[in-house]
Symmetry: C2
Amino acid sequence: MAKKAGKQKTNQSTKPRRSTSGKKTTTRDKIVGLAEAVIGDIAKAENPTLDVPTRALSNVSFDKRTGIIEMGEATSERPFFDLGNAKRFMQTVLMSSELLKLQDQMKTTSIRDMFYRCKHTVEGSKEETFNDQDESDPVIEDLEVTLGALREELRVFANPDGAMVGPMTIRDSGDEIALSRMGSGGWAVPSIVEADVIEFIKCDAKFILLVEKAAIWSRFNEDRFWEKHKCMLITGRGQPPRGVRRLCFRMADELKLPLYVLVDNDPWGYYIYSVVKQGSINLAFESARMAVPQARFIGMSAYDAAEFDIPMNLSIRLNDKDIQRAKEIMNYPWFAGRHWQREIKHMLKLGVKLELEALSNKDFSFIADTYVPQKLKKKNWLN
Amino acid sequence: MAKKAGKQKTNQSTKPRRSTSGKKTTTRDKIVGLAEAVIGDIAKAENPTLDVPTRALSNVSFDKRTGIIEMGEATSERPFFDLGNAKRFMQTVLMSSELLKLQDQMKTTSIRDMFYRCKHTVEGSKEETFNDQDESDPVIEDLEVTLGALREELRVFANPDGAMVGPMTIRDSGDEIALSRMGSGGWAVPSIVEADVIEFIKCDAKFILLVEKAAIWSRFNEDRFWEKHKCMLITGRGQPPRGVRRLCFRMADELKLPLYVLVDNDPWGYYIYSVVKQGSINLAFESARMAVPQARFIGMSAYDAAEFDIPMNLSIRLNDKDIQRAKEIMNYPWFAGRHWQREIKHMLKLGVKLELEALSNKDFSFIADTYVPQKLKKKNWLN
């Protein structure tokens, strides 16, 4: 019975389930539903069993139609009366009861906090419920996929990071915030940006510019690029954290804003772009609500050095790790397009990578005044 | 002549020089002064020489009276006509001319950007002005100490990080921002928080709480600790970056707010606190304008586990690196006080470290509702 309930829930991961009364199923309902299924099994003297969608490369595929990396239908059983599964079953039930408290108390907390919340010595034994966070994090991920609820909907977050400014007014936890009046610092993007926390009140932006590096973001902000070009300017400081990705998703989805990604020209930059666009293999179950398949790669391209006349001595030679990574990336199905193969091959042929900061050799504001505007105007981006 | 000018400037590093007209010397004046001294040497057919204060452990001392780590008077000569010094001389003059452009254009930029700005092939040779950033960063630090100007006054920054909320209104680059209405994200603390960028307009805060971890900061913010206790709530996400330290300095100095530092109970937590309070050895020349000697260590203390009845299984055993670091720290003169020796010895005796998140085992909000308020009330902190 619990098994069936688990399966049903998996299918809901991309579309919220509605109960017969037409009311949307809340995350709380989902947690309670899981508990009730377990109790139901016990009442019927059956072996309580959780059925957890498999989070592994074998159960991941790239959907060409939707343009995102998706999780398959494979699941694995986790019966309570089974030596190899009893502990993980206990951990999953314990974690879900703590997650329910978060829902009831309307609080949010970190995955590290959840580890400490759930850690104790099992009564009458010397056994710990959890020994370290490496045990509790996967249990949270199990629950995400089993319940079909994003971690953020479970009110749990990783470390927040990133900043945003632009011609938009939001409501964050009740505070109305004009993102066009955030000075040099910007609004710090929280980890949880679900609609019950962050509301979009008014938006005059025409697109989103996601900048890999915080220092480059500061350049665009200081030059008030977002004002001149009417855009939301956001950075995730390297690989964007979940809050930044989810916020980009929501702005692209709800406000229909095109998303441009600006990264260094190296394999890691390509990869950052691809995670924003298609999602990641490890967290494929979130792609449907995190990935933005319309995202555009505005730069830097391996062709930019020639196009913008950037001296060769500002490039950095690709090292063995870069070359290996570039070849790996070329084999991902989402980089299979002719234009991407051409791009990556050109980088390998030149044998160098190029950082966004290299553009400063011309002028401090070359990147904001010339480079990006020209690329936008000429529609010189990759899809 | 340049040598003498250099020396004079060193002495000003703690107090801004005033010219004979009584006007404050600007950073621009300082850069131009350096250039004029070099030109003066050339005009007199002397060997142009920069005299750079020595940035080394040998030239650093802990001033018990002021409570900060300070730089000594030692300097080293850098003559142009000297095989071992000519390149560094050229680099220093080149960098200062680029820094002057930043002043004139009223722009700020990153140290990485400055590397690319200054990098080119010397005309008629195959020699690069700078090969990599490891060469340009020390030149910026040389100029900081030689000119007696903080990096931020030179308009150059490292990566920004950190967030702040609280009962205060600031003006950031012309935008008036109410930090009490910043939602769950907060205001992202920029890297440069000098008075010409960030002004304090109105402040109802009674103290500052600097929280090591971003996730814990979110807990305090969600619980509106800053409203109940009238405090500025700030995080630097680990070792606070320069912007966060400088902002704490300015709030402590200009607004006379006491500063409490909340870190994990481990040697790294003690060290984070000490850098905030006394400054660091590497950057001793900045202590006078970055360190907050009045800062108080609010926790976590090795005595907290007993005091707050935290189960032992939530502690983590100290590893060899922790123990070694703790012993190093005990030998720093600024940890020589009896109370600090007692504190660190107790941690070593218990043989464990304790994370802030361990407090969540009691209740999600135990840290914000009970732990910190009780410590503040009982004045249970270390100085």
